[in-house]
Amino acid sequence: MARLIKTEKEVEGRYTEQWVVVEEDALEQWPEGPLQTVGRPATRVDGLARARGEARYTQDIRLPGMLHTAVLRSPHARARVKQIDLTPARETVGVREVIGPDDLEPLTDEPNYEGQAIAAIAADTNDQARAALDAISIEWEVLEPLLDVDQALRQESYVDDPKRYERGDVERGFAEAEAVVEAEYRTQSVLHNALETHQSVCEWEGDTLVVYTSTQFLWGVRDEVADAFGLPKDKVRVICRFMGGGFGAKGSAGDYTLIAAELARRTRRPVRCRLDRREENVNSGHRNPTIQKLRLGARADGTLTAIDAEYMCLLGWGGWLPPTAGPAQMLYACDHVRTLEYGLRLNAPPMDAFRAPGFVEGTFGLECALDELAAKLDLDPLELRRRNHTDHDPMDERPFSGKELMECYRRAEPHWERRHEVRARSEGPWKHGVGIATQLWYGGGGPPSYAWVRLSGDGTATVLTAMQDIGTGTRTAMAQIAAEELGLPIDRVTVELGDTAHGPYATVSGGSSTTPSVGPAVRAAAGDVARQIREIAAQRFDLEERLLSLSGGNVNSADGGSWPLEEITGMLGDGQILGKGARGPNPAGMRVMTYGIQVAEVAVDVETGEIVVERIYAVHDIGRVINPLGAESQIEGGIIQAIGHSLSEQRLLDPKTGKVLTQTLDAYKLPTIADVPEIVSELIDVPDAHLTNLGSKGLGEPPIVPTAAAIANAIRDATGADVRSLPITREEMLRALREAEERRRATERVEAAPA
């Protein structure tokens, strides 16, 4: 019988209450350790399609009669359209339709950041659409953009209300402290730069709007588009079978989808709207810069007595305040904590989620400050972290569900021990060092998510769920889960995803939530099929159902006897066995998080400020691991993005005009294969006993969280210099070295001075 209960759902630190229908006979978790398919390395089920170039991405969708779009975007960070004439564009060769500020919600005549959409043109070809842009006659009144942080503060220009949090009494905590560190940390704006840019193709089929789009959230796009066009939700069908990367920025419909849909509505033709790389880097979101003021107090034994932290987030014109204070609030046991977060609204492009938004930035400040504290207390940084470990969420005393952080620390020890030999490699201007940083992030997922499984007479199964695989390998993970439950080899399982018309609702692929949200639903659906197979076999062969199990493509009886699955299903001819499954609730009264630690080894040339990351060791706890091969790739990918974030990537805004100066991939420095250090990773792989029928959490985001702090801490270990600003450019490195040198001289002067 279905039971209705309320549970908590979390995406990237934002919690909501959620009603869930729970089936009574929930599956027990599988035993710990590698099983037949789950927990063993699996190559991607769609690997060949991708490698051969046969996978069709949104960029490859070409429909008969399809029109192409060019969007007129504001060249100014703040301006007003005094006059606009679209007529000449309408009369340009090949143009089919032109829309302007009065025609569609995202189009505006008062842009508040560079790149905001003003007008859009649909034409037979891309070149014709672009050429027609020049024909639009437009007169601007350029206004002074709000870009200065101090001015924005004076004007209280916030996107959301500032968030305050306090537990205990921070001043009392500092009074108890025997050592205090106080420092300001800065992180930069980082651009997602998925290689497939944001884009959609929209087509009307009668009263149904079909949207092909490069997205992390099919159902979110469906709802947004349905709402914008006043359609019943299922009159919008959203398709994304292969997706060329998102990293957080593809969670909503975007202006390009709404523009394509409106132009398609007007022309009754399929319309494509695609951002080019430059539009992408202005107009599709970014990780917001932060300025963090931290003060940490501790006793001589390292016990944290107080954390006081203020986070200024430079969001741009919109977006939301990411949970930047999360690590300060939750990572360590500390009785007295006060945080303040605020997001400034400026005339700059809006932020969007970027792989562990908030925690990447917040972890950099906190974990650097912690190492500065360790230096002051002359304590081992790893030991300092151990001493402040907490087994419950210090914000609300809820126990953490399945926390293996101490085991991560234990496994990291030999890698941390390497610091002695690494330091000894220092020679001439090249100084070597090792640093660590701890990772905390969400990743438990939640309901609702559903899956259907159908089993055909030939003993092959198809999983249907309208989730998306954004490149993380979730399609493969779902195939493994279904194969395990059905006792089938993985090549007899197909996963159909990426189409809201083909399968039930599934979660956003964000917040490391796909596997922990959809995985349990897939297992439940496969379990439903498995139960029916056992019931059918018991009737057909006159067996005891409770003795039957599925493995190796067979139905096996505990008292001997084994029948190929297709012998049972084949009986049904064209008949199919259908199963359905839903994601159950999250464990009541517990906090579900992911954990880890990384150890960075760096070399710094103290004369030039050049930094080379030589090795990263990563160990993470995400509960049960479904696919160790794909998991290793996620860790490597997260670390490599983090190296870019740490050393080379930075969106630059012109401080006067607010224009993005780093629009191209030669101006914006992504890591290349030549920038990759040795990466050694492992996972604890212990199922979270309280979390769903899988005990698995997500891994998309955890690996990117601690790397920057580990690198900065390794730099301090190597040179004694405190780098406090990302990216750690040569300028920042040399500044920190000068500061360290001045500090050293000042100490010498004090010591040399007569008492």
Binding site: D46, G47, A51, G53, E54, F242, G473, S633, G637, L670
Partner: protein, 150 residues
């Protein structure tokens, strides 16, 4: 009307002035395995071979190709790198993967057993935002080792 030799076949196509090789392949010939990610020669996703030499098809005008043989990912479906990339998990979102394989196959042709450093040098023009680089290096080494074994 121009003639274009692609993957061993001769094609005839109308190409307006300014048509890039990437556009001709993707739009005129429907060979969408070649991806365009930046459109200005910075990322390597659109890499194809001209007479075995990797070029960026998004900044190569189709009129300049002449009678040189064009090889795209569709012409390399037999190549052991394809399976090696899958086996090594060298593809995540996969958008850069065809370009990576086209570059890697040219590398192995020129240098059948490249060192790690040589791989990094030859492949540094092919960006991968997902960060499959360690696996790409592994896949290239695996194919080189296979060839040595033969």
């Amino acid at each position: 009307m121009i003639e274009l030799l692609v993957n061993g076949h001769t094609h005839e196509l109308e190409a307006p002035v300014g048509r890039t090789l990437a556009e001709a392949l993707r739009l005129d010939l429907g060979l969408t395995g070649t991806k365009v990610a930046c459109g200005e020669g910075h990322c390597g996703a659109c890499t194809v071979q001209l007479e075995g030499v990797p070029v960026l098809s998004c900044i190569t005008l189709v009129h300049t190709v002449g009678d040189r043989q064009v090889t795209t990912i569709e012409g390399l479906d037999w190549h052991p790198l394809v399976e090696a990339f899958v086996d090594a998990d060298a593809t995540q979102c996969g958008f850069c993967t065809p370009g990576q394989i086209v570059s890697a196959s040219a590398l192995l042709e020129a240098n059948p057993s490249p060192s790690g450093e040589e791989i990094k040098h030859a492949m540094a023009g092919n960006l991968c935002r997902c960060g499959t680089y360690p696996k790409i290096e592994r896949a290239i080494h695996a194919v080189a080792a296979q060839k040595e074994g033969n």
